[in-house]
C-alpha cells in the first residue's frame, strides 16, 4: 500500500486551443495531440464531394476559436466547445426517444438499442448540429463520453448559480452548463467543424464531406417483403405470385436465416433442402420483376467452406460460436467476400440485410477481445458496421450494379453507403423519432412494419413505412402479409400504391441527398420557419429569450417530419383520434386535396383511417407516376402526373438516370426543371425542360393537376 502525498498542483484549465485549418468551403479540420491512424474516416474512406460543397458557398468560421479547446492527459483527449444560452443541439446518431441533445450525457457506443438514449445505439454518430448553424464531428473510432451541455465548470464565463436548496424554490438539480465536453480515450483526435449558416446547411456540408447520400436503385424505393425465416424456395415464389395476384406492389423479397445451410453462425451456403436451385430462384424472381435480398450476420460457422482459410484473421472471441473475421485486414476481406461474390452476387442476388453488427455486449465480441490487426475490440465495434457496408457495397460496384440493403450498425463516415438501418425494437412512436434523428446524422432508417396488435396499428405502421427510406414489411417471425388484416387491406393497398406513384418524387429526393447532401427524411428543426413552441392559441408568440434553457428543451416535437423537399408528414399512431401539427411559417396545403391548412401555427387534425396526414409547402410540386407494382425498370419510360400546391409559381428539379448502374457518376444523368406559373389570364401552366441530348430521358406523357383551387 502506498500513501500518496501530492505536492504539485496540476493545471485544471484547458491547455490548448484547437488549431483549425480549412479543408473545404465552410469546413475546417482541427487536430489535437497525435490522432490515431484508425478512425471513422479511415474505416469508411469517404471521398468528399468538393464541387458540391463549393456550391454551398464560403462561410465564416462559426465559433470563437479561442473557445474550442483541447488537452491531453491520462492517455486521453479532452475536448471543449462553447454553448450559449438558449442554444439547441441535435444529432449524435440514432436516438429513439429524444431529439434535443443539449443537457444530455452520452457514451457513444455502437450497440443494440436498449430503450434509453444514452449513446448506445446502432449508429452513435459523433456529430452534432446546433440551431445556431454549425456542426461538429469527432473523427474517432473509440467510445466517446459526451457531456452535451452538462457539467458546469468553476472557471466558466457564464457559470451556474449556487442556490440554497433549503429555501430557494428556483434551485435546480441540473445547473446551467455553457459547453459541450467530450472525452476521447486516445492521445489525440481529428475534429471537423461545419459551417451553416443554417443547421440544414451544416448537415449538408457534413453529408457531402462524407461523400453525399447513397443513390439507391429505383427498385430500392419500391416495396419489400421479408418472408418467414424458414420459407423454402417454392413458398417464396408462391408468396411473390400472391402479391401479383392481389395487386400489391413488390420490388424485392428478403430471405431470413433459413436460406442458409446453417445459421448463427453461418456457412453462407444455400441450404440444399430449402433452396435447391438458387440460380433458378433468382431467375424466376427476375422475370417477375422482383429482386432478392439475403439476411446474414457476418460470423463464420466452423462448417463454412472458407473457415480454415480465414483462420489467421479471426478475432480472439466468437459470436454465437462463430468466428469473427478481422475485416480491417485486406487478406481477410479478400477471402471473406469472394464467397459472397461467387455464391450470391454473381448469381443475381440484389443485396443484403446485415444483422447483428451492432451488439449487444452479450452477443458480440467483448471489449477484452483482440484482433490480428492489433486494433482494439472497441475500434472494431465502432466500425464493423461501416466495414461490412463498404465491403459488401464494393461487390456491387465492381459489377456496376447498385444495391440497397439493410444494416444494423453504422457510424460517422458511412453517409454514402446504400444501407438503411433497422432494429428489433418495435415501438412505433420511437421509430418515428429515429427517422427524425437519422436526418441529423447522415444515416437512413426504416420504421419497418411488423406484426401488430390490431388492424389499426398495422395500417398506422404501414402508413409511416410508405413515407420512409425503405418501404418494408418484416415478416421473418410472423409471416404477416400486407393483406393479413382484412379490415384494412384496401387502405394498405392504396397506401402501397401511393408509395409507387410517388417514385419520381422519392428518387429525386434521394438524388438531392446524393448531390446536395439534403437528407430525404429529416426533423422539423432543420426546416426554416419552424418554431417548436407555438403558444397555446395557435399563434407563434413564443419568446425563447425569456425562457431558461431547461424549459426550452422540455417539449420535444418528435411526431412529425419532413419527407423530400416539400412534404410534412404527421403520422397517427394506433388509438389516436386527433392530433396537433405544427406548421412552419409559410402556407401549407393538404396533400390529398390541396386545401389550405395553415401558416406558422398549430392545427388539429382529425384521424382518418385511410390517410396519414401530409402537408405540402407553398408552391410544392410533387411529380407522380401511375399506380404500379414495380419501380420503373432499366430503360423503362413512365408517364408523369405533376401536382402543384398553393398559389405561388415554383419549380422542381426532377432527377433521371438509368436507375440501376453507376453511370450517373460519369455524368450520365438529367436534372429536368418542372416549372409551374400563371399565364397572363391567371391560369396555371406547367412545363418541363428537356433532357440534354444524350442524357437519360425516361419521361413519357406528362399531365398536370393544380391542387389548390382559388
Amino acid at each position: 500500500m502506498i500513501l500518496l502525498f501530492f505536492t504539485n498542483l496540476f493545471p485544471i484549465c484547458y491547455a490548448q486551443e484547437i488549431r483549425w485549418e480549412p479543408v473545404a468551403p465552410g469546413i475546417w479540420k482541427g487536430i489535437t495531440g497525435s490522432p490515431e491512424d484508425f478512425d471513422l474516416l479511415s474505416a469508411a474512406t469517404p471521398e468528399p464531394r468538393m464541387e458540391a460543397i463549393a456550391k454551398l458557398g464560403e462561410a465564416a468560421f462559426p465559433l470563437d476559436s479561442t473557445e474550442t479547446l483541447a488537452r491531453q492527459s491520462d492517455g486521453k483527449t479532452y475536448l471543449k466547445f462553447p454553448l450559449v444560452r438558449e442554444e439547441q443541439l441535435f444529432g449524435f446518431g440514432l436516438n429513439f426517444k429524444t431529439v434535443h441533445q443539449r443537457g444530455r450525457i452520452l457514451r457513444l457506443h455502437v450497440d443494440h438499442y436498449g430503450g434509453v438514449d444514452n449513446g448506445r445505439t446502432h449508429a452513435p454518430v459523433p456529430f452534432y448540429v446546433s440551431d445556431r448553424g454549425y456542426g461538429i464531428f469527432v473523427n474517432s473510432a473509440r467510445y466517446l463520453d459526451v457531456y452535451a451541455g452538462s457539467g458546469s465548470r468553476l472557471d466558466s464565463k457564464d457559470p451556474a448559480l449556487a442556490r440554497d436548496r433549503n429555501t430557494d424554490p428556483n434551485w435546480t438539480a441540473s445547473p446551467y452548463s455553457d459547453a459541450v465536453e467530450i472525452l476521447v480515450p486516445a492521445d489525440g483526435v481529428e475534429v471537423y467543424l461545419f459551417a451553416g449558416p443554417t443547421p440544414l446547411k451544416a448537415v449538408q456540408r457534413f453529408n457531402l464531406f462524407n461523400g453525399g447520400g447513397p443513390l439507391p436503385p429505383r427498385w430500392g424505393l419500391g416495396f419489400t417483403q421479408r418472408v418467414h425465416r424458414l420459407y423454402d424456395q417454392a413458398e417464396v415464389l408462391a408468396e411473390v405470385d400472391e402479391f401479383e395476384k392481389r395487386g400489391f406492389p413488390l420490388d424485392f423479397v428478403g430471405l431470413e436465416p433459413g436460406w442458409l445451410s446453417k445459421s448463427y453462425p453461418n456457412t453462407f451456403d444455400w441450404d440444399p433442402g430449402r433452396f435447391p436451385d438458387p440460380e433458378g430462384l433468382v431467375a424466376s424472381l427476375k422475370k417477375k420483376g422482383v429482386g432478392l435480398n439475403l439476411w446474414i450476420n457476418p460470423y463464420v460457422s466452423p462448417d463454412a467452406d472458407f473457415f480454415s482459410e480465414l483462420t489467421p484473421y479471426y478475432g480472439s472471441h466468437t459470436v454465437w460460436a462463430g468466428a469473427v473475421p478481422d475485416l480491417t485486414m485486406q487478406e481477410a476481406q479478400r477471402i471473406y467476400w469472394q464467397k459472397f461474390k461467387k455464391d450470391h452476387v454473381d448469381i443475381g442476388v440484389s443485396g443484403y440485410k446485415i444483422d447483428e453488427v451492432d451488439g449487444y455486449d452479450r452477443w458480440l465480441w467483448p471489449d477484452v477481445a483482440s484482433f490480428p490487426s492489433g486494433l482494439a475490440a472497441e475500434q472494431l465495434r465502432q466500425t464493423y458496421g461501416l466495414l461490412v457496408q463498404k465491403q459488401s457495397a464494393r461487390l456491387y460496384r465492381d459489377k456496376n450494379r447498385r444495391t440497397y440493403g439493410l444494416v444494423r450498425a453504422s457510424n460517422g463516415g458511412g453517409v454514402r453507403f446504400p444501407y438503411v438501418l433497422y432494429n428489433d425494437y418495435n415501438n412505433h412512436k420511437d421509430f418515428i423519432t429515429a427517422l427524425i434523428n437519422s436526418g441529423f446524422s447522415g444515416i437512413l432508417w426504416t420504421p419497418e412494419a411488423r406484426a401488430s396488435d390490431s388492424a389499426e396499428e398495422w395500417l398506422r405502421r404501414f402508413q409511416t413505412v410508405v413515407f420512409s427510406p425503405m418501404a418494408m414489411i418484416n415478416a421473418w417471425a410472423s409471416g404477416t402479409k400486407p393483406w393479413t388484416y382484412p379490415e384494412v387491406a384496401s387502405e394498405v393497398k392504396a397506401m402501397a400504391l401511393l408509395r409507387m406513384q410517388m417514385m419520381p418524387y422519392w428518387y429525386s429526393s434521394f438524388a438531392r441527398y446524393h448531390f446536395e447532401g439534403i437528407p430525404p427524411f429529416r426533423g422539423m428543426n432543420l426546416e426554416p420557419g419552424f418554431v417548436e413552441k407555438p403558444a397555446g392559441d395557435g399563434i407563434r408568440k413564443v419568446d425563447l429569450e425569456a425562457n431558461p434553457y431547461d424549459e426550452a428543451t422540455k417539449k420535444e416535437i418528435k411526431d412529425q417530419y419532413m419527407a423530400g423537399p416539400s412534404l410534412l408528414v404527421a403520422p397517427f399512431f394506433a388509438g389516436e383520434s386527433s392530433r396537433e401539427v405544427i406548421l412552419p411559417e409559410g402556407n401549407w396545403y393538404d396533400f390529398y386535396d390541396g386545401s389550405y391548412a395553415g401558416n406558422g401555427e398549430i392545427i388539429t387534425v382529425t384521424a382518418r383511417l385511410d390517410q396519414i396526414p401530409v402537408f405540402v409547402r407553398e408552391g410544392g410540386i410533387i411529380p407522380l407516376t401511375g399506380p404500379r407494382l414495380h419501380a420503373p425498370g432499366e430503360g423503362e419510360t413512365f408517364d408523369l402526373e405533376i401536382r402543384h400546391y398553393g398559389e405561388t409559381a415554383s419549380s422542381f428539379y426532377l432527377y433521371d438516370d438509368d436507375g440501376v448502374s453507376f453511370a450517373y457518376e460519369k455524368g450520365d444523368y438529367s436534372w429536368r426543371e418542372i416549372r409551374v406559373e400563371k399565364d397572363e389570364n391567371g391560369n396555371w401552366n406547367g412545363s418541363i425542360s428537356r433532357a440534354e441530348a444524350g442524357k437519360p430521358d425516361h419521361i413519357g406523357k406528362v399531365s398536370w393537376t393544380f391542387m389548390t383551387k382559388p
Copy 2:
C-alpha cells in the same frame, strides 16, 4: 483520410501468466504490467489483520496459475481467470437485482443505482467470490469492464458449441464461456487472490486483508430516526421527547440538509435561524441518551467560510454549483476537515451521513473534469466515497471516539470504515437483495424504512430494518414516525424493542466481522449446506452436474439471508400471505417459539403481521438483554437472557468492551464463552466464562431459556 493496409498479424492470445507472490496465508498478490500509483488500496490504506488471517490457516493456491493470464495492449490491461462448468460467482459489489454474477457483463463504476445491475452502483467493488472457494480482487481505481463468464474464446479449452439456429432447438443466445475477463484501462494492475477453502473463508480473508469490518459503537446498533429536513432545534428535541414518551427506542437522530445555513452546495455552517444553539442541542440530546448525526454532501458553497482558502485544491467542475475539493491532497484535507472538527465533531456530533458521493453523471463532476492532484475524474469518482469515509472517520479516531454513519458510495478497500450504505431507490425486495450482496463485498447496507403505501408495507419494511446493520427510519421528506401507522404501531414497537433486546447478539456479530472477517449480514450462498435448487417435493435432490450452467443460474434466492452466526431471516413483503424458505442442511428452529422447522428442505411459512420469519440453526445461542430504549452506555452493566435452540450442546462467544472507544484495539476487550450442554440427568445447563482480570465485564444477571422443548 488514410487507407490502412495491415500487413502484420498481432498475437491474439494472452502473452503472460500473472506472477503471484504470497502476501499472507491463503492470499497472493499478482502484478501485471506497471500498476498505477493510485488505486483502491492506496486511497483506502487498509492495514491487513495479519494475525487474524493467519488463524484462518494456510491454503493451497486455489487455481491453475497457468490459467491466470494478463496482457497489456492499447494502454490497457487485459485479465483472464478460469471458470469451470457449473461454477457460480458472487460479488462485484452492491447489486440490487441479482446475486449470481456468472454470465453477466458489468462496467464497475461508482454511481447512483439506476435500476439495472450493470456495474453502476454505489459500491461496485471489483471483488468476486466463487462457490469453488476462492476470491479475486482487482485493485484498480478505474472503471473496469467485467465479462464474468460472458464472451467465448475461439481458443478456449472448453469452447462454446456452434449450433444451427434454423433447426436446433438447443441453440442458445448465450453460449458457454469458461473465463472471467476484465479490462483495466491502465498499463498494469495489482490483483489479489484469496483462498478458501469455502467461499466464506475467501470472503473472510478479503475482509481481514482490508482491515476487518468496522466495530460500531454500541449505540450505532440501536435505533436512528432521520427527521424532516427543515426541522428546527425545538422540533428535533420535541420529536426525541415523543419517542421517549411513547416508549420507542432511539439512539441517535439524523439531521437532514436544513441544519445548514445553505445546502446543495453547503456552507457546513449551522443555520442560525433553525439551529441557534448547536452545542446546547447536542448537550440536551446527550442527556437524553441520544446522539446527533449530520447530513452533508461534500460540495463547497461559495459562501462557506473556507471557500477561498481551498481554491487551489478544487476540481475543474462544480456539483450543483459547489466546488469539489480534491481530497486526495493533504493540504486540501487539512483545510476541509478542520471545519468539520471544529464546528461539529468537537461539540459532540456523533457522525455523518455523507450523501451524493456516488453520482449520477448529471450531478457529479463529469469524466472530463480535471483535478489539481493530476488524477483523472474517473479515479476521483471511484474513490471519493472511500476518501470521505476515511478522512471523516479519522476525526473521531483522533478523539478516541467511535462513529457509525451513512455514506452513499464505497469501493474495494473500504471494509473497515464505520459507514453503512443507503440510497434513494426504494424497492423493498431489491433492498434485501442488496443486503445479501453487501456480505460478498465487504460493505454494509441498510434497507432503511421510508414512508410506505400502507401500514402493512411500513411494518414489513420496519421488520427488515431490525435485521440489518442500521435500524433506521428516514423521514427527511415525509416526517414519518415509527407510530405514524396506528394500525401497526404496537407491532412496530415490539420489533423495535426486539432489536434492542438483541444488542448483545448484534454486537458480538459485528465483533466477528472485525476480528474474523465474517459479514454480520450475508447471503445463503456463503452458508454451508445451502442448496439453491431443492426439488419441488421439498427434498434436496438436485443434481447440478446434470444441469447446464445457464439453467443453474436462472433461479436466484434473494429473499432470505443470514444475520449473525445463527439466524436465517426470511422477510415477508407487503401483500404476501405465505412464502417458501429454503433451510440449509442441519436442523432449524423457529426463532420465536423454538419449534423444529426443518432440515435441508423447502418449507412454506404463513404470514403473521407481527413476525418476520427467523430461524435458528441447531445449537444456536442468542444472547439477549431486556427491552430498552437506548443501547448500553459506556461502562453500563446489563443483564442477559440467553436462549438456546435445538438439541445439541453448543457454545457462543460473547464480545464485550467499553462500547465507545478504540481501547479494544489495545486489547481492552473480552470474549466470553457461553456454553450450553446437558447434564448427566439430561437437563440443559448453561454457563458463561468470566472475563479475564482487568478486561471489560458489563454483564449483570444471566438467565437461560432453552427454547426447544423435547
